[in-house]
């Protein structure tokens, strides 16, 4: 069952073309990866999907699905603690605050929730934003470079969390430069190159994917 369907999506910034005629389908209960060079348009594609950018083409979403987006750079209000940030994000999505769930989830992330979120380290900020997404109970998770800045233990936990989400029937779309991590958890990896979906990988080995990327440059 399709959760998101993108048809002939194009996006330009002035005269610069960032995405050209992108068509993709994201199905329920699957994990998708998105790879591409810096400036290839991964974040732009995500922002189009979230309605943050205007675009030409079509993005169809299944009715009544909740989509959670983890940007590469998260915004935090100053002088607001981690817990208050979580409370705000949960309430803003009309969800009920389950303190037991926050406690359980924080058992994994180990965040000092009573400290100001803006004072957190890069990795801690990412973990907090991800925690907020998980507590919002979304159907689709779009994660832009979720492994960036996260420590080794955090990365292992994150991969576990993503796999658990898939088992719960959620759809996850991840962009990353870590091919090995994506290869480990994703069923499909899309390679964004020269503003188009250049290649789709399913069963290929890491070596084959890397060779394809090198040849395409």
């Amino acid at each position: 069952m399709e959760q998101i369907e993108i048809n002939h999506l194009s996006e330009n910034f002035g005269k610069i073309s960032v995405l050209k005629d992108i068509s993709l389908k994201y199905n329920k209960g699957m994990i998708y990866g998105l790879i591409g060079e810096n400036g290839a348009g991964k974040t732009t594609l995500f922002k189009c999907m979230m309605g943050l950018y205007t675009y030409t083409g079509e993005i169809k979403k299944a009715p009544d699905i909740a989509i959670g987006y983890l940007p590469a750079d998260n915004f935090f209000y100053t002088l607001v603690t981690g817990l208050e940030y979580l409370q705000f994000c949960i309430k803003a999505k009309d969800c009920k605050i389950d303190y037991e769930k926050i406690k359980t989830l924080n058992g994994l992330f180990n965040l000092p929730l009573n400290r100001y979120a803006s004072d957190y380290s890069t990795g801690m900020k990412k973990k907090l934003a991800l925690m907020a997404l998980l507590l919002q109970e979304n159907d689709v998770y779009i994660l832009d470079e979720p492994f960036n800045g996260i420590d080794l233990k955090g990365c292992i936990q994150l991969k576990k969390i993503i796999k658990n989400l898939k088992n719960e029937g959620k759809t996850i779309i991840i962009s990353s430069h870590l091919i090995s991590s994506l290869h480990e958890i994703c069923e499909t990896i899309h390679y964004l190159n020269r503003h188009i979906i250049y290649k789709e990988f399913h069963e290929e080995s890491i070596e084959e994917i890397e060779a394809e990327i090198i040849n395409s440059l």
Binding site: M50, L52, F75, E84, F88, K91
Partner: protein, 311 residues
């Protein structure tokens, strides 16, 4: 959502007051009350709506949470409209009390339009500025941002002198001095300080930079004054203004090393440095007091940041 959002904003406001402490909170409140009193008393009916629109416009353009709010609610535009309405309420009330119904209607109209406006981004062409003291990145950044103001000030000065009004170039010199100092209004990054060999190199660098940069840009004003109004009084004024600007820039650069809060820095600047800058132009002996103050400030900064060089 509005209730939730305003609750969060009020919480932040309460914490800001807690952070800046009671005394400075009282000073800010005093300035706020003073500003409100001026707004009410002022007779020109344009001042209140223009001030309100400028404040809201700046706030709307500089806000970083636009995308964050968009991701949380489908009605983010409505939320911003409601927030701007709450913020503009005092101004609308003032206008209603003064029976300027059209002005209050104008403010409300702007409140509805602002959330739909895209962020205005200014781009600065990275023109090479070889004539500036190399390495003083803050000054280079300031000059790239304020270059057009400098040209305007020069033009105003020429116009003033052509009309035999020497006060205009003098005012322009003072305004430029104030703008030059804004280059040092950002909080410093400790990593940037580590680029210097030690505290002495740091001080020497900024003294040389201020001497060169301030002098360079004052030169056109001095030449203009000498051509059109060659009097001892004008020469003395430019000399004092030059020293004054250097002291202000150095003072600001030192002061920002002592604080970790931008608001606190603005307050300290307004209390300690700005009065010196303004009054020393008319009472030059204040420069002696200022230099004593700068020496004291240097000592405090030395005590505060010298640990960076492990000494």
């Amino acid at each position: 959502m509005l209730y939730l959002y305003l609750k969060l904003k009020l919480l932040i406001l309460r914490r800001i007051f807690k952070e800046i402490r009671f005394f400075y909170g009282i000073i800010i409140l005093f300035f706020f009350v003073l500003l409100s009193a001026v707004m009410i008393k002022i007779e020109n009916h344009w001042v209140v709506p223009v001030t309100c629109i400028l404040i809201l416009g700046y706030y709307n353009n500089s806000r970083k949470d636009r995308n964050f709010l968009k991701l949380l609610t489908n009605h983010s535009t409505m939320l911003l409209t409601q927030e701007y309405f709450v913020l503009s309420l005092p101004f609308i009330c003032i206008e209603l009390v003064r029976r300027n119904f059209l002005d209050s209607l104008g403010i409300i109209l702007v409140v509805f339009i602002l959330p739909h406006m895209k962020e205005i981004k200014t781009t600065y062409i990275p023109v090479k500025l070889q004539f500036l003291y190399k390495g003083d990145l803050e000054y280079i950044r300031m000059f790239r941002q304020c270059f057009w103001v400098y040209i305007l000030l020069l033009l105003f000065s020429i116009m003033g002198l052509l009309n035999n009004n020497v006060k205009i170039p003098k005012a322009c010199i003072l305004i430029w001095g104030l703008l030059e100092t804004t280059g040092y209004a950002d909080l410093p990054n400790k990593l940037y300080l580590l680029k210097f060999r030690n505290f002495k190199t740091f001080c020497n660098f900024y003294i040389k930079s201020s001497l060169w940069n301030a002098g360079l840009f004052l030169l056109p004003f001095i030449i203009m004054l000498l051509i059109y109004h060659c009097e001892m009084e004008s020469v003395l004024f430019t000399l004092i203004a030059y020293i004054n600007t250097i002291f202000y820039m150095l003072g600001m650069n030192l002061l920002r090393q002592l604080t970790s809060s931008s608001i606190f820095l603005i307050i300290l600047q307004a209390i300690l440095l700005l009065p010196f800058y303004i009054f020393a132009c008319f009472l030059p002996y204040l420069l002696l007091v200022e230099i004593t103050f700068l020496i004291l400030l240097s000592y405090l900064v030395y005590k505060n940041i010298n640990y960076l060089w492990n000494k």
